[in-house]
């Protein structure tokens, strides 16, 4: 295992029982920290999740790396779509991940030197410096063992053979004494870590889809806004429509009475759907205050019907509207 296993949330669950879209959205929303593992026969893909984003992923077969990052995610997604294999999810203490990441995104202080050249106690002492993040990697022909330190605190070690996190630091000295051991040492300050350019890998089809999906729904919302406007009804202060919404408040912006996506949607389908419905409700409530509920309701239904008529060939949006039941929205 390239990454440690952490605390088990679920283990070896058939992929078809997991809604990956919701899971990824949930990672984003909860700023999840952990690892998602997909196993298909003897191939496994490990996806590291840090603060809701995906900085690193590997596909391995018996310890041999077959693919990395986007390619690994592609393998993951293809197997998921083929309803093949099993998924396991483990969560981490957030502080465990920065020492894992510096292995991939920083330059080593020591790189694959024979271990007998170094004094393990001095390395530990160095790693326990406050405000520093350190990673000691000891490898031999059979295994690789990672020792992780965050802000001078020892967070545990794990071996790539089993991935289990252990806390006995004296094991480091034991490893040093083995004849064929090589050591790598990575260390950076906490401040430098935040400056690292850590990528956010995408679950292409899923994340593009949620954005496209929101775009489609916004097409409807904007159509209704335009319809209202063409009948002399408009909202003076559109910014307050998004106020307090968990996801859309930070992802959307309203310019000239038109909602557009300003940044990546980080939310689950269910929540985004709920918030889109809430946006329409708020628009209608705001207008009802001025124009009366009965009239706004009549105009809303007229706008809805006009939209269906104009977009009748766009099956996707028609299905979406039907699914959310936007015709019968109450406000």
């Amino acid at each position: 295992m390239k990454f440690p296993l952490g605390q088990e949330i679920y283990k070896r669950t058939p992929v078809y029982l997991i809604n990956l879209k919701e899971l990824i959205s949930w990672f984003r929303l909860e700023r999840f920290n952990g690892v998602l593992v997909e196993e298909v026969s003897n191939v496994n893909t490990q996806v590291l999740v840090y603060d809701g984003i995906i900085p690193k992923a590997f596909t391995e077969r018996n310890g041999e790396i077959l693919a990395e990052d986007s390619n690994a995610i592609e393998i993951f997604v293809n197997d998921y779509l083929a309803r093949n294999g099993f998924l396991s999810l483990f969560s981490y203490d957030k502080e465990l991940i920065p020492p894992l990441l510096i292995l991939y995104f920083s330059t080593p202080n020591i790189f694959r030197e024979e271990s007998y050249l170094f004094i393990p106690e001095r390395l530990i002492e160095d790693s326990k410096k406050e405000n520093s993040i350190s990673h000691i990697l000891i490898e031999n022909s059979e295994d690789k063992v990672h020792f992780l330190f965050y802000d001078g605190k020892f967070k545990g070690y794990y071996s790539e053979k089993d991935g289990i996190i252990k806390e006995d630091i004296s094991f480091l000295s034991e490893l040093f004494n083995k004849s064929d051991s090589f050591i790598s040492f990575y260390q950076i300050s906490c401040g430098e870590f935040h400056k690292l350019n850590i990528p956010s890998l995408k679950f292409s089809f899923i994340e593009e889809e949620i954005t496209k999906w929101v775009e489609k729904l916004l097409e409807y919302v904007n159509f209704i806004m335009r319809y209202y406007e063409s009948h002399g009804m408009y909202i003076e202060n559109t910014n307050k429509i998004l106020d307090g919404l968990n996801i859309l408040c930070s992802s959307l912006v309203c310019l000239d009475n038109k909602f557009i996506i300003k940044k990546e949607i980080m939310g689950s389908y269910e929540e985004v759907e709920g918030e889109i419905v809430e946006v329409i409700r708020r628009i209608n409530r705001e207008l009802s205050d001025l124009w009366g509920e009965k009239f706004v309701h009549q105009k809303y239904i007229q706008g809805y019907k006009k939209f269906i008529e104009e977009y009748k060939n766009d099956k996707k949006i028609i299905e979406l509207l039907d699914e959310i039941n936007l015709e019968n929205i109450e406000f």
């Binding site: 009948h231 003076e236 202060n237 001025l290 124009w291 009366g292 009965k294 009239f295 105009k299 007229q302």
Partner: protein, 256 residues
């Protein structure tokens, strides 16, 4: 807590109405001898309310499509002001009765045209569609008014021996005009009931009602009018209500 702007404006409008009204009462009660005080304060009240209405209306952004509609109300109010000023000009500056029909009537007629355009503009802009019960209600009210109009006003005016043809036409025009404006505004109120905008239309409709009462009083009761005619207090109230409806509508659309 400080008073809201809307409340302060409504109190100011109430004062604008009460001062000429109290002067009228004093003249009627023989407490005041100088009759021309009434048209003077009448004009002051009108001009102040007109300035306030234009000031707030000028603050609405022209982006709103309804802006054009309310511009017609502002213009109709300006015409009404010119008409009233021309009407009061005779007693104020010449100390004599205003001739009827006369120059003020040109502006009164134009007032009706603009007010009519305003209502039609909004009915078309909003694309009003009525259900059966609403249609029934509008029809019922229209018929009721029509019967009262024909019975109470049109027939007596047509039969009148004293009126010239032109004054007959004008009297009928004013009263039929009131009737049309009331029905059109009523259509808007029925549809927009419950919203703040509907309240502004109800001020509009109330204003037209008061003009209507004034017209009936003028046509029937006070034909032998004096300078301080009771019919005028209804005209003043309707002018202030029209200005007030413009202010309220503007406040709804001014960016906070």
């Amino acid at each position: 807590m400080s008073m809201s702007l809307e409340r302060r404006i409504s109190i100011f409008f109430l004062i604008l109405f009460m001062v000429p009204f109290l002067i009228l009462l004093s003249i009627e009660g023989k407490l005041l001898k100088n009759e021309s005080l009434y048209p003077l304060f009448y004009e002051i009240a009108e001009i102040l309310s007109l300035i306030i209405a234009i000031y707030y209306f000028s603050k609405i952004g022209g982006v709103w499509r309804g802006w054009l509609g309310w511009l017609f109300v502002v213009l109709s109010l300006v015409l009404l002001f010119i008409a009233d000023f021309a009407w009061n000009f005779y007693p104020l500056f010449k100390g004599e009765e205003t001739p009827f029909p006369g120059i003020p009537d040109i502006f009164y007629v134009l007032f009706y045209v603009f007010a009519f355009v305003f209502l039609i503009y909004f009915i078309r802009l909003l694309g009003l569609e009525f259900d059966v019960s609403e249609k029934f209600l509008i029809l019922l009210i229209s018929l009721l008014f029509l019967v009262l109009l024909v019975q109470g006003v049109l027939i007596p005016v047509l039969r009148s021996q004293e009126m010239t043809i032109l004054s007959k036409i004008l009297n009928i025009f004013y009263i039929v005009g009131d009737f049309i404006l009331i029905i059109l505004a009523f259509m808007l109120i029925v549809k927009l009931w419950g919203g703040k905008v509907a309240k502004n239309y109800s001020y509009f409709i109330l204003a037209v009602f008061l003009i209507n009462i004034g017209d009936i009083l003028f046509t029937y009761i006070f034909r032998d009018f004096k300078i301080s005619n009771w019919a005028y207090i209804f005209y003043l109230a309707s002018f202030l209500l029209l200005a007030y409806s413009i202010v309220r509508e503007s406040l709804l659309h001014i960016s906070k």
